[in-house]
């Protein structure tokens, strides 16, 4: 108890004496912990709305689309199936809203919602037999169409007949992804209403949901469904696909944050250990005095652990609060998963305590005689210094060079402590330049076309004509997108057909070659992984019952749908799917603003066309840039903390040499140069090493992430040489400037010639 009180006094005094460094340490660790918590929140499914929607709606794991009403009893008897929803009749319609047409599926559902996979009404109420003109619209679809309760909804059936329904409710569902990423949009009506709108059974399909006892058996169950229903089957969706569709780009952000967080943690802990070690070295005399007063070895070690550990723990606490409140503020209170956060907090605390433990233990072993010289820096002229002498470099530089390496371990820690943040900064710059490359060369991510034009109110041929005569348009590629069933996998994938085999759309093929004839295709990494296929393999899919057999001749970079996309020429699809084309992809001439072309096209078609700008992945990932800037700032803090430690240690080692150096005839400027060279050399080494490692792994890391996310390797770009050189120069310059201030003060100060 008594030692606690006395120790407190000492810790408080010491922390006050180095407020700046202590604040830096706390901030760096706080930032890292906040980044880790944000990362784990994004990686943990907490931010994916699918989970809560699935739980709220007692969702079905497998959704089966069939031509006729399927034998539900047999489906329900499949092993692993607990309950079934439906079958519900479903008809394709077109919603006409504010002049735009959107594809929609009207689903017949009874007035009493079913037990399984029942939509949860968010606004308004469920369908009521007393009001047969009512429709309940899925929430994301309603938002896209700006539908409110009571609003009229005009729909066109396949027959061309128009009907007007009224929005009675807006509901959430876990059976398909959000509109417009997932089309068609979804609306529910009473069965009798659907019979009125689409009397022809042949123009509708049947939708059945299966709830499973074990979600992991999805694959097995859907295989059996495929075998049982054979030709009846149109499409199958599993909960995994729905979940993946609802998940936005949070995983990528989470991965980036986690990478930076983990490496940053290593750097921060290194900085902390470095700072603690340097501080202990600088305080050996004070520690000896404490011991002569009656502090025991354990108490001195404990004191140091508490002091330096406390900085880490305060940082962790701050970071936890900041990370937690930020994620709650941005993503909602349900997003934070307490267990992983607690793990992070406990893990970081342990790492921090371990990092300060070693210097503290060393401090505790200080002999109690304060007069004893505290480990004088020994050392001989390093090879580098000899070389410097040989080429007759100024003595200040030679002395500084020698100083840089006299203490090997601190020298290594300093260089390493700067190399790690610099490496991460380089990686951050690489991510930045990859995003820039997306933006500058959209064709490299499959976005050669900047606009997609849907015929809308016009005939398909007329739409193509309007697009072709626009002066800004370089090429027009007809295209369509269909869902195909991959029977082997028992789930549906997207088939995108743009251009033809003879006049192919320039998909960004990074492996293999482009397709050149009907029956050939290129695939995204996600699709190759899903089908377990390689380039050169033949795959068989079915599009609405028609088999589609293609040979995969190449891999394209595919930023959409986790890369689970097969790209073919329009002539590879059956005519029923490809004529007329659903849209035209417009490649613009260089330097033409897509917005101008869009305005022109809308004007020349009398607002009849539906013209959409293609969203560049870099735009979706714009948040990454904010994160990168924040992380670079944080890493700079860590580097700065390391630098201050190194500079303080260098000064301490030389405080008593300064008088000698001056006596030998070195001018203050030369003394200063000696001190700056001592730390500066290590700084330059660390920064260069960090940049070299960072720039050599960045492309690999980005491509690895690309591969894992299904986009595929081939997107990574290293930062431009100019960027690298600038960042190195800025880092070195800033470091030298920071090292210069204390060196200047020391060189000018009157140094008393006393023993230590």
């Amino acid at each position: 108890m008594s030692a606690v009180r006395a120790g407190n006094r000492w810790i408080r005094a010491d922390l006050l004496a180095r407020r700046g460094q202590a604040t830096l340490t706390v901030l760096a660790i706080a930032g890292i912990v906040a980044a880790l918590i944000a990362a784990v929140t994004l990686l943990e499914d907490g931010t994916n709305p699918w989970r809560s929607l699935f739980a709220q709606t007692d969702g079905a794991h497998v959704w089966i689309y069939t031509r006729d009403s399927p034998p539900v009893v047999r489906l329900r008897e499949l092993d692993g199936v607990t309950q079934a929803a439906g079958p519900y009749r479903s008809a394709s319609v077109t919603v006409v809203q504010e002049g735009k047409k959107e594809p929609a599926a009207l689903r017949a559902m009874p007035a009493t919602p079913p037990q399984v996979a029942h939509p949860v009404v968010a606004e308004g109420r469920w369908l009521d037999p007393a009001r047969p003109d009512g429709v309940v619209v899925e929430r994301s679809f309603a938002r896209a169409l700006r539908l409110t309760l009571g609003a009229p909804l005009t729909i066109t059936a396949l027959s061309g007949a128009r009907h007007t329904l009224y929005v009675r409710g807006i509901a959430d569902s876990a059976e398909q992804g959000f509109f417009p990423e997932w089309t068609p949009g979804l609306g529910w009506v009473l069965p009798e209403t659907l019979d009125r709108i689409e009397p022809a059974l042949g123009r509708s399909e049947w939708v059945t949901g299966l709830r499973l006892a074990d979600p992991e058996s999805t694959q097995v169950v859907s295989q059996r469904v495929v075998v049982m229903l054979e030709d009846q089957l149109q499409r199958v969706y599993t909960w995994r696909q729905v979940r993946a569709a609802m998940e936005l780009d949070n995983r990528l952000l989470g991965t980036l944050l986690a990478l930076f967080g983990v490496v940053g943690l290593v750097a921060a802990v290194l900085a902390l250990a470095n700072a603690a070690g340097g501080r202990v070295l600088g305080q050996l005399r004070d520690l000896a005095t404490l011991k002569s007063m009656g502090f025991t070895r354990g108490q001195v070690a404990g004191l140091l652990v508490v002091e330096h550990g406390a900085l880490g723990l305060v940082g962790i606490a701050l970071g936890t609060v900041a990370g937690w409140s930020t994620t709650v503020a941005v993503l909602g209170s349900t997003s934070v998963a307490p267990m992983p956060v607690l793990t992070i907090v406990a893990g970081t605390a342990l790492v921090v305590l371990a990092a300060v433990g070693l210097p503290a233990w060393r401090g505790g072993r200080t002999p109690p005689i304060p007069a004893a010289p505290s480990a004088p820096p020994r050392g001989h002229l390093s090879r580098l210094a000899r070389l410097a002498l040989l080429v007759r470099l100024p003595p200040a530089l030679v002395l500084g060079t020698r100083d840089a390496f006299t203490r090997r371990v601190p020298a290594f820690l300093t260089a390493f402590g700067l190399a790690v943040p610099m490496m991460m900064i380089t990686i951050g710059l690489g991510v930045w330049s990859t995003l820039d490359n997306f933006k500058k060369n959209p064709d490299q991510v499959g976005q050669y076309a900047a606009l997609h034009v849907r015929p809308g109110k016009l005939e398909s041929a007329a739409a193509a004509h309007i697009a072709k005569i626009d002066p800004g348009v370089q090429a027009v590629y007809p295209g369509t997108e269909v869902n195909a069933l991959a029977p082997g996998e028992a789930r549906s994938v997207r088939v995108r057909a743009i251009g033809t085999s003879t006049e192919p759309y320039p998909f960004p093929v990074v492996e293999g070659r482009m397709f050149t004839q009907p029956g050939e295709a290129v695939a995204g990494q996600g699709l190759l992984d899903l089908l377990g296929a390689k380039i050169g393999d033949r795959v068989r899919l079915t599009v609405g019952g028609t088999p589609l057999i293609v040979r995969i001749v190449g891999r394209a970079v595919e930023p959409d749908l986790d890369g689970e996309v097969l790209s073919v020429g329009l002539d590879s699809l059956a005519a029923k799917d490809s004529v007329p084309p659903a849209f035209y992809a417009l490649a613009l001439r260089d330097g033409v603003d897509p917005a101008d072309v869009r305005t022109r096209l809308l004007a020349s078609s009398g607002e009849g066309l539906d013209v959409q700008r293609v969203v560049n992945p870099a735009d979706r990932l714009a948040i990454l840039r904010v994160v990168i800037v924040a992380l670079i700032f944080l890493l700079s803090l860590i580097g700065l903390a390391n630098l201050l430690t190194a500079s303080a240690l260098g000064l301490r080692d030389h405080a008593f040499d300064l008088a000698v150096l001056k006596a030998m005839g070195l001018t203050p400027r030369q003394v200063m140069a000696t001190l700056v060279t001592g730390t500066g050399l290590l700084v330059v080494l660390g920064i260069l090493a960090g940049t070299a490692v960072g720039s050599s792994v960045v492309v690999f890391l980005i491509d690895l992430q690309g591969h894992n996310s299904g986009v595929g390797a081939g997107i990574g770009r290293a930062p431009a040489t100019a960027t690298l050189v600038t960042s190195v120069l800025v880092a070195v310059g800033a470091s030298l400037a920071v090292a210069l201030i204390p060196a200047r003060r020391a060189a000018r100060a009157q140094v008393p010639v006393t023993a230590r």
Binding site: S2, A13, S292, R297, I369
Partner: protein, 244 residues
């Protein structure tokens, strides 16, 4: 009553290639209230001896008895605990904790010994008052002159009214005026009954003491009461010049 007794105390530094004997069989007895000065030229083992007496350094062989208890066998930690209440140290280079204020430096040993913060503060005020340092209580050690720093160090050493005050060249780094101030303080606390063992190589300083022990090459070559004023052979051992 005997406060301190050593029996054939030996210290040999064996770190280098050749073992260096620093203290070679010292038998020393210090009575309660005595002011003993240990003199000798550089390298005679004075500092090593006084460090061993306070447990800052391990003895190679021999015994140390402090207040009737054998202490040379104590562990480093046990020594530390013993020092809190029974041994006060004053060093040549003051050794104030640089980051702490004068007040905190003086209070630290009292707090460490388990004195309540209020009492520690009262004692610190009393000590600084007695040493004429009250107005410097909130200063940092670096802002003080050497003499002031050594007075603070003395206050710190006396904070727990130790059984034994060990001083290792307390005036070695001071000018004559500050030396006089510090010595006056030492003789005052000695008058109040404080037992003091002081190392010095300054004969003038030694004149204050009751007794002067001369060390040469790690052995006691002379041990005598100052009042007896033995006339030595002019070799310097035991030679005293009146300070006042």
């Amino acid at each position: 009553m005997t406060i301190l007794r050593t029996v054939n105390l030996v210290k040999i530094y064996s770190g280098g290639a050749v073992p260096v004997p620093a203290v070679r069989g010292v038998d020393l007895t210090v009575e309660e209230g005595e002011f003993v000065v240990i003199m000798g030229p550089s390298g005679s083992g004075k500092s090593t001896l006084v460090h061993m007496l306070g447990g800052l350094d391990n003895r190679t062989s021999g015994e140390i008895w402090l207040g009737g208890k054998r202490v040379d066998t104590l562990s480093e930690s046990a020594w530390a605990v013993l020092r809190r209440k029974h041994v006060g140290f004053v060093f040549q280079f003051f050794n104030l904790v640089a980051n702490m204020t004068v007040a905190d430096n003086v209070e630290l040993p009292a707090l460490l010994a388990g004195v309540a913060p209020k009492d520690a503060k009262a004692r610190r005020e009393h000590l600084l008052g007695a040493l004429n340092l009250t107005e410097r209580a909130d200063a940092a050690p670096a802002q003080l002159s050497g003499g002031e720093q050594q007075r603070v160090a003395l206050a710190r050493a006396l904070a727990n009214q130790p059984t034994l005050l060990l001083a290792d060249e307390p005036t070695g780094n001071l000018d004559s005026r500050n030396t006089r101030d510090v010595l006056r303080l030492l003789s005052e606390v000695h008058k109040d009954g404080q037992t003091i063992v002081m190392v010095t190589h300054d004969a003038r300083v030694a004149s204050l003491a009751d007794r002067c022990v001369s060390l040469l090459d790690g052995e006691i070559v002379d041990d005598g009461r100052i009042s007896r004023r033995r006339s030595g052979g002019g070799s310097g051992a035991g030679e005293v010049i009146e300070l006042r």
